[in-house]
Amino acid sequence: MPDNPTKTQGAQTPVADTPTEPAVTADLAAEHGLNAAEYDRVLATLGRTPTLTELGLYSVMWSEHCSYKSSRRHLKKLPTSGPQVIQGPGENAGVVDIGNGQAAIFKMESHNHPSFIEPYQGAATGVGGILRDVFTMGARPVALLNALSFGAPDHAKTQHLVSGVVAGIGGYGNCVGVPTVGGETRFHSRYNGNILVNAMAVGLADADKIFYSAAAGVGNPVVYVGAKTGRDGIHGATMASAEFSEDSAEKRPTVQVGDPFTEKLLIEACLELMATDAIVAIQDMGAAGLTSSSAEMAGKGGVGIRLDLDRVPTREDAMTAYEMMLSESQERMLMVLKPGREDQARAIFEKWELDFAVIGALTDTGRMTLVNGGRTVADVPLDSLTDDAPNYDRPHVPSEPRPLLRPDEVPAADDMGQAILDMVGAPDLASRRWIWEQYDHTVMGDTIARPGGDAAIVRVHGTNKGLALTADCTPRYCEADPFEGGKQAVAETWRNLSAVGAEPLAVTDCLNFGNPERPEIMGQFVGCIEGMAQACEALGYPVVSGNVSLYNETEGQAILPTPTLGGVGLIRNLDHRASPGIKRAGDAVFLLGE
């Protein structure tokens, strides 16, 4: 950078990025998802009208998706610590100790709205995003899972959505070469207009080689790597935070296209660089791309950041600062390097044919300063984007208790044989082989229990240890009684892990609910979390990472409350594992539990 970028400079009032940039008004802010009170807060923070670029930053960072403004205070109720926890929520993924100096790193995330609009690419980029969360932390991804909720099988859109989503998940995971070993799939009319696509990734790393996202070291270079930035998915984060309406597809046409090939190269290049000690901090550019990655890294590190947007590798001409900051182009990462390590890093990324650019530096200002074409186009306090983002205590009412269903109220089947056939043929119970056969579940040569059992088992490469993995939830329980349903979902993952002989370690979650501004939906959310918290507490089974997806509604119809839980367990000796098949005629059958 030409001038000395790291020193505090006299407060500069940012200017418009382009001569045609619209003036920022309360209406424009509302179109960006900021309500009147929130916009007032922006004005008060800055003491002036924001530029369009700044409005973009606030709209993204204060969206439900990034700020967790409706959920933050409730998520605090979940237990997140334990002797096995190396890193709980707050980083790109959770990290647990699995002994012998090794760690398992995992997280689950939703890609619901994009998958409804463009099922193949929406689901594919969901897998890409969750993989980045895991390898960002230094882990080699070793397994993928996916939890899918579709509308009724006979609904006009279901078939198209199912085939697109399954193909997209397979298309991405198969190509990057990470086995997809499990998941769950359900069908219910309450998902007709709003499907759920939750993807989970699990990785392995040495416990002393975990990478974090807090930026440090004033003056250190901020580096962009991966694919170029295009005009993809601008407003994706705000879309993930708004209810659907019939014309969403028209209004928000921007869905990103994933490139799993580039992701595979990015994994290899990042792991190669991580084997050196050049990286200070690293974060992937997920929803809200450059904005959230740079703000969160600098915010966590308590430093400032200055980016020179002219240096951002772009795919298209004449991209504005606003577009670059809001782009959701996939397969990109942001890193802070130790000074002088740029050339070493560049050589690795160039070998893998990826873009590499030094786009800025850390400062001591506590502000995010964006420069484009020599003009300062944004200059805002970082705290206002991150820690001081809105945090709401939304009103919530408990769900009406449902009457208990007593066995004698359920008519007995006339013909047991037929009842069994009906059940195994029911969409929710039928075999999922047709799904998992479309996923490469054996690549990497360590899949010990393939899909089809209670939990999948993936061996820790080169050892006789294994990770057991499962994803579960029963939404109708959560609707009938959120508290009990939340507990049950946790317990189900626990049972599935135990059933293969694993010691459950920790869970990740993906909390899919309707509009939190409706007290009854908020009541479901709070109930499920409190139930989950109680179960996790009782089991010593902490939540180490997760994701919240709200506003899953179409035309006022909310989905079933769906807190998907992803459980990870450890099998210390793979010779002592269990599988569901009945082994021999004559074996005794036991029923355990109540």
Partner: protein, 79 residues
């Protein structure tokens, strides 16, 4: 009657396949090749005999199944 539908990614939508082909050509020594974009063609045999009706029907097929207008655009050619 036959229809040929060209389906291409909208301008600005990432085309990883086109990019890879471009790199492949460069690696083989073909220089001076700028942007490469890849698309699909679908050829349909139609029972229709009236061009306008055929075109309308193919247009409906494109919107219903053949193209996803969120990321793709299409062009119909009757032959």
């Amino acid at each position: 009657m036959k229809a040929r539908v060209h389906i291409t990614l909208k301008p600005g939508v990432l085309d990883p396949e086109g990019k890879a082909i471009g790199r492949g050509l460069a690696a083989l020594g073909y220089d001076g090749v700028g942007e490469v974009r890849q698309g699909k063609v679908v050829e349909l045999d139609l029972a229709d005999t009236e061009p306008q009706a055929a075109r309308d029907r193919v247009d409906a097929m494109c919107r219903d199944l053949l193209a996803n207008t969120v990321i793709e655009r299409y062009e119909i050619e009757l032959i």
